[in-house]
């Protein structure tokens, strides 16, 4: 199994898990370009707290996701501002080649 395959598997695990846990999530964007073996995710969350910039939190590697993970929660409005360039991406982050996951991509059992 290749490193890329393992990375994608881990991202899909996180995406499915996070959709199940947070019902405000509308989409999860996996920023792959230049990330190497790190996972960078922007999670668009209706229940998020707007801060007007991308502020990621870090999760340490663990068994199911053996990669460093950087997760930024943004509101749908902030996501539009990111797309328009009004909110810049952090240094080294790029939307080039990014992959989006929607709730409908998974058969998600919502967590109450």
């Amino acid at each position: 199994m290749t490193e890329n395959h393992n990375l994608e598997k881990a991202v899909r695990f996180l995406a499915q898990d996070n959709f199940a846990v947070e019902d405000g999530l509308e989409r999860i964007v996996w920023l792959r370009h230049g990330a190497g073996d790190k996972i960078r995710l922007i999670e668009v969350n209706r229940n998020g707290f707007p801060v007007g910039r991308i502020e990621a939190f870090y999760f340490a590697p663990f068994e199911e996701v053996p990669f460093e993970t950087y997760l930024a929660d943004v509101t749908p409005e902030e996501w539009q501002q990111i797309l328009s360039g009004e909110i810049p991406l952090p240094a080294g982050w790029s939307l080039e080649g990014s992959k989006e996951f929607l709730r409908s991509d998974f058969e998600v059992e919502r967590v109450a």
């Binding site: 998020g48 502020e55 939190f57 870090y58 929660d73 109450a112």
Partner: protein, 165 residues
């Protein structure tokens, strides 16, 4: 280095919270240290995320509440606490309102309202002083959601390196 520095200060603030709350002193003093513990812990996690600088983190608001929202999606924390996804989500959800209340006790977020440092004037032009003010959050911290918030603040300090490095 910077996250470690914020964690070190947060741990000392936490010790002060524990020390002062055991004394017969006005509530504002202990609450001040609890607010600073949460603020610095939230910022330690943000700086660890490497998308903002320590300077930018100083201006970031309600970082601890936002951290709690995100950490409920951390399967590793779930394993550590031996909770299911739904249990962790419910656990975190009950903490969010009181976590935000604590973080907003700082004058910068209190918007000329109740805070733990400076006197303020209410809409009836009555001036309140932190040392004599009856902070509702003190009572909330004695109820299960408040006690769980305190346990969580303690836990994330202890498990910081396991979860976040």
């Amino acid at each position: 280095m910077w996250p470690d520095a914020y964690l070190e200060q947060a741990r000392s603030d936490w010790q002060m919270w524990q020390l002062i709350r055991a004394q017969k002193l006005p509530d504002c003093h202990a609450l001040h240290y609890l607010q600073m513990t949460c603020e610095k812990l939230g910022k330690a996690f943000l700086i660890r995320g490497r998308t903002i600088s320590p300077q930018q983190a100083k201006q970031s608001h309600v970082a601890f509440k936002r951290f709690l929202q995100v950490v409920s999606r951390n399967p590793m924390l779930r394993n550590l606490l031996k909770m299911t996804a739904s249990q962790l989500k419910a656990h975190i959800n009950q903490l969010l309102p009181i976590a935000e209340t604590v973080e907003r006790l700082t004058p910068a977020l209190a918007h000329d309202g109740p805070n733990v440092e400076y006197p303020w004037e209410n809409p009836n032009r009555e001036v309140h002083v932190p040392v004599s003010y009856n902070f509702q959050v003190v009572h909330e911290l004695r109820r299960p959601p408040g006690m769980n918030l305190l346990k969580t603040v303690d836990l994330v300090q202890q498990q910081f390196y396991r979860l976040f490095t």
